[in-house]
Amino acid sequence: MEQRIIKTTCPYCGVGCGINATIDNRDAHQITIKGDEQHPANLGRLCSKGSALADTVSLQGRLLHPEINGQQTAWPEALDFVAEQFNDIIDKHGANAVAFYVSGQLLTEDYYVANKLMKGFIGSSNIDTNSRLCMSSAVMGYKRAFGADAVPGNYEDLELAELLVITGSNMAWCHPVLFQRVRKAKEQNPALKIVVIDPRVTDSCDVADLHLALKPGADVALFNGLLNFLSEQNRLDQHYIEQYCSGFAETVASAQSESTELNQIAQRCGLNENDLTLFYQWFAENDKTVTLYSQGVNQSTSGSDKCNAIINCHLATGRVGKPGASPFSLTGQPNAMGGREVGGMASTLAAHMDFNKPEDHQRIARFWKTENLASQPGLNAVDLFSAVDKGDIKAIWIMATNPVVSLPNADYFKQALERCPLVVVSDCIADTDTVQLANVKLPAVGWSEKNGTVTNSERRISRQRPLFPASGEAKPDWWIVCEIAKRMGFEQAFNFSSAADIFREHAALSAFENDLEHGLRDFNLTGLAELSDAEYDQLAPTQWPVLAEPTPTSSRLFADHRFFTPDRKARFIPVQWRPPANSTNNAYPLILNTGRIRDQWHTMTRTALSPRLNMHLPEPFIEIHPQDAESYAIIDESLAEVESAWGSFLGRVKITDKQQPGSLFIPMHWTAQLSSRGRVGALVNPVTDPYSGQPESKHTPVRIQTFQAAHYLFIISRKPMTLPDFDYQAVIKADQCFIYQLAIRAPQDNILQWGQQLLQSTDEQQRIEYNDPAKGVYRMATLDGNRLNNCILIADHWRLPDVNWLQTLFSQPEIEPQQRISLLSAKPPIGQGDVGRIVCSCYTVGETTIKNAIAKQKLTSVAEISQCLSAGSGCGSCIPELNEILNATCLSK
């Protein structure tokens, strides 16, 4: 049977990769995913997460019915209830007593109606988004410099550049497909220089000619130093500065006032002066420079200034919107850009219009035919949840995001939500840390059922198309918003019949009075405002602006050197280096840095459904430099507690010299669903950038101490387990089984009985047991004939055997007699290889397999490894690790 290919877009990072999906079995939700070779973002490539999307579209864990206070209810009742409650609270306490907290996971159409409802009709600006946590400093940087939130360049610029500066971004893990394009560009043009600026050695350094291990938070000093250097070395584009920019003199003066001495700057940045100078020289010499930046820049109390410090250097050299030359913010989420376009942040109006322009306000009020349009910016995310805590906000509707995990000071904000009189959550997942706190749960469609558009980092609008009809009673987010809006009394404004209908209005608003007479705005979809339903369905990936007549310049902005400021000139912004808000001290002597890992997305609600994505880094962990580990008596692979003034965290220790001394790194993904105390958000200081309101998630003072438990254990079970509380617990789904890593402080009298109780094993005949009571060791497996049900390994020491081989036995229908004997050794019988820790997720290739192949077959390059084992030939995100293993194996010979 010929299968129809459905073109859609990946729901993870901001690269916005095109996907060709085919449906293998509609009822069983089985699909095959391939990269779309025609999509300009990825040209057929996909990363490990995107490739594993087929594992995430089952109905497992889906929220499929509306619920009010734990009771399943029908949609009309749920919608009426929310509308009445909201209206009631607004009547009693005013419009600012309600709020929406939305998400870069929403489609543009969903986002548009949510913003329209809150700002346009409820009349409050209390709608903020999780993009506040990742992109708002970048928005502020662009707006201050260009008068609009506009990314000037496009992805081709990465291939056209002669110098790539990757700063505050581990794009190898966070934007893997774009990183593959960079890798290929480097292969094809060895003259391309790449500088990675990051306090950590990350996999992105794999392609770097120069790595600057910057002191955390010193970015402004680094780029101010660069501006000085360019000025002193006469490397400025004087013509560009004079003709198209304003504010240069004050800006360079501000930079000079900090320091003009390279050695001082190097010291402030924690860098070697030669490396610093080399970077400055390369920047000075290469006209085609793209600076790529992301959360390492944005998530800071001086995030906006960091962005402008970067943009200042690009303006000073005229490198904006030119082929191979731009300051390029990489967005974290699939539709962070779409959210910005519809004005889904408390600080902006719709369609890139602003509160501080009265004409914008009037224009939108006219277009929406409302008299109730909010006139003041609302509360940004952190302030918004603080207002919930204070009781100022009495009803909050959270859509498609998990703030109990992702907010800073997350335990505090969790308590705020627990106290909030009305929490409405619309989500596709039934049990998230946030959904659990909801009074009203509204089932939303998931990625494979959604229909609408998203905008990626290079302003490219792509369609997400449904692969399946909506499951259960799930509904599109736009439908839920519109139905509640209608019930709140706004029938006229929300009478949309489809996503296409909404998109047309969104495009029309962007086009509305967007001309020389009324003032030009960057965001303009004039050419899409009258799409038919069929044309919308067929819409190919399109970069904005989309004017009535296609122009040759639309793939880059500002090629005409005309900006969206009143004088149409770009603005230099004088900025000064400031230390992070909270500095380390005796009580909290270490800096906590947070970030993503390669194979997980956000709060793991979807990626953790995929066994192969779970095996690369299966537990919440802490990276620490060997020197610090020694100072604080922290041992590799043991457990450690990290505490800040705001909360605490418990995770597995990874000692690595890739980490700077004095700094720790903890991944952002783990939730209370998957771990006992693995939510890093609980640690993060709730301090924000004064301009963007973005939290300083990359810098929190913390301390670390070793965690001693009485018993350490793991359980691998074919079925999910209900376990009592453990001090440490981390669970992942593997192939055909679930793996629980556990530790408990309270000593157990009889570990045999305890182990048997934990596995609920009553039939002795089903057991295989190993017992070393003097060492506190008990291991047990239960089997049904030769089919393994579960196993438990208990010790009084954290160094438990590896789960790698044991968990593979669960994917066998029956284990072999030989395996019964070695089962509890957790090591395979001879001739049955242990693959080791999974390195390549696409082909599930483990470290041991790779090392053995390198040794036995004398492999000398990643290409040879790929040829021999397929590792690295899928998405390519493991190539840096393959290089590392190759180097280590060759060195050890």
Partner: protein, 406 residues
């Protein structure tokens, strides 16, 4: 003129010594052998398969009459030629039919006999040991006409007798004073596993009990009464409660004896011309019932007879390799954990596989393997060499590390 080596006892120990001697010094002696049983040398261990019918007597012969002929050994066997006295002064032995034969060297290998406990009624017909071909033939005859057998003693010999009689169609009950069977070789866990295995073969067990009285009718056993006053029907009662070294001959000749005939490291008795090997000897405080140390004694004895000199017998830590009812068993050293020892156990209940390792100061001092005896040589070496196992403790019970991937 060759010296004469006279061997009393035509069993496994004596003949192994002769065989070794022929191998290393074929022309040293003129050899004369006396045996009380009317056969060549047979493998006593193989009496069980004969009992349950898997083998015929000629199949368990180690040395048939031809072998003696070929090797110029003079063999006298049967009751007539049973030795009744040794004159150590005259260096002669006397046979039942009053023959006197001289020797230059004498090797006593009179073996042992079943211990028949003096329970009231023990002297009646049907109460027997399990020791030789005659016993086996008697059991086979009984099984053809009778149903009820009781075996006293849950040791190796008792279980083999029980198993054999059961296969011959008798209803067998094993009575054992210890709470678990095979208590010299196994701990309770392994003993219980073996017990349930044997129960599935219709062998019954009464453990923790002794026989108080042997009931009889017409001079023949017909039941036994246990400590708890319960009665078991018994057409035959096999006593498998131990063995008694045959020392009477040596004692009467004035050779020093204790429980067995006392020998030194060269297997020499108190008389410098007389050696002794096998189940009749006592070395230090130890008696012997298993074939491995007995063969070791035979070898040492042969080397000394051949005047090769230096070989010395050293008792080593007992290890037992057994096959009971198709199940491989191995045990060695200390089987119970004491105050300063630690145990590792591994058990697969369904497959009835069990291992126990007893450790002291990170060294192996005891091993039980039930059902799977892979890597026993490795474990034996670890125990004998007292290797420090601290680094491999976690993997120890799962077998030799090389059999597991790194």
């Amino acid at each position: 003129m060759k010296e004469t080596l006279l061997v009393i006892g035509n069993g496994m120990a004596g003949m192994h010594a002769v065989e070794e001697l022929l191998r290393i010094a074929p022309d040293e002696y003129n050899i004369i052998v006396f045996g009380a049983e009317p056969y060549g040398n047979y493998n006593r261990i193989m009496l069980t398969p004969v009992l349950y019918g898997a083998k015929q007597i000629d199949e368990i012969m180690i040395h048939d009459f031809d072998w003696y002929k070929k090797n110029n050994i003079t063999l006298y066997c049967g009751q007539d030629k049973m030795i009744t006295a040794i004159d150590t002064q005259a260096r002669t032995v006397t046979t039942a039919d009053a023959d006197k034969i001289s020797y230059d060297r004498l090797l006593i290998a009179t073996g042992s006999r079943s211990l028949i406990l003096p329970i009231p009624g023990h002297a009646v017909e049907g109460v027997m040991g399990f020791r030789d071909i005659a016993d086996v033939e008697k059991m086979i005859r009984k099984a053809e006409t009778h149903h009820h057998a009781v075996v006293l003693g849950g040791g190796l010999l008792g279980l083999e007798a029980a198993n054999g009689l059961s296969q011959r169609g008798m209803e067998v009950t094993v009575v054992n004073r210890s709470r678990h069977i095979l208590n010299k070789q196994l701990d309770k866990t392994a003993g219980d596993m073996l017990q349930s295995e044997l129960q599935q073969k219709n062998i019954a067990f009464r453990l923790g009990l002794s026989i108080k009285e042997i009931n009889h009718h017409d001079g023949h056993v017909n039941a036994v009464t246990l400590d708890d006053n319960s009665r078991l029907a018994a057409d035959i009662l096999v006593m498998a409660t131990g063995i008694v070294p045959n020392t009477k001959l040596a004692e009467q000749a004035g050779i020093e004896c204790d429980r067995g005939i006392l020998v030194d490291h060269a297997m020499l008795t108190s008389d410098p011309r007389i050696y002794a090997v096998g189940e009749c000897v006592q070395h230090g405080r130890e008696l012997f019932g298993l074939v491995a140390p007995v063969y070791q004694q035979a070898k040492v004895c042969a080397e000394n007879l051949a005047e090769h000199g230096r070989a010395r017998f050293k008792t080593s830590i007992h290890s037992t390799v057994l096959k009971v009812s198709g199940i491989d068993l191995f045990s060695m050293g200390e089987l119970q954990s004491g105050q300063d020892s630690e145990t590792l156990t591994h058990i697969d209940h369904h497959q009835r596989l069990y291992r126990k390792l007893v450790l002291k100061n990170n060294k192996l001092i005891g091993i039980i393997m039930y059902g799977n005896t892979r890597d026993i040589a490795w474990y034996q070496q670890l125990l004998l060499k007292q290797t420090d196992i601290a680094d491999i403790r976690d993997q120890l019970i799962f077998g030799k590390p090389e059999t597991l991937a790194a």
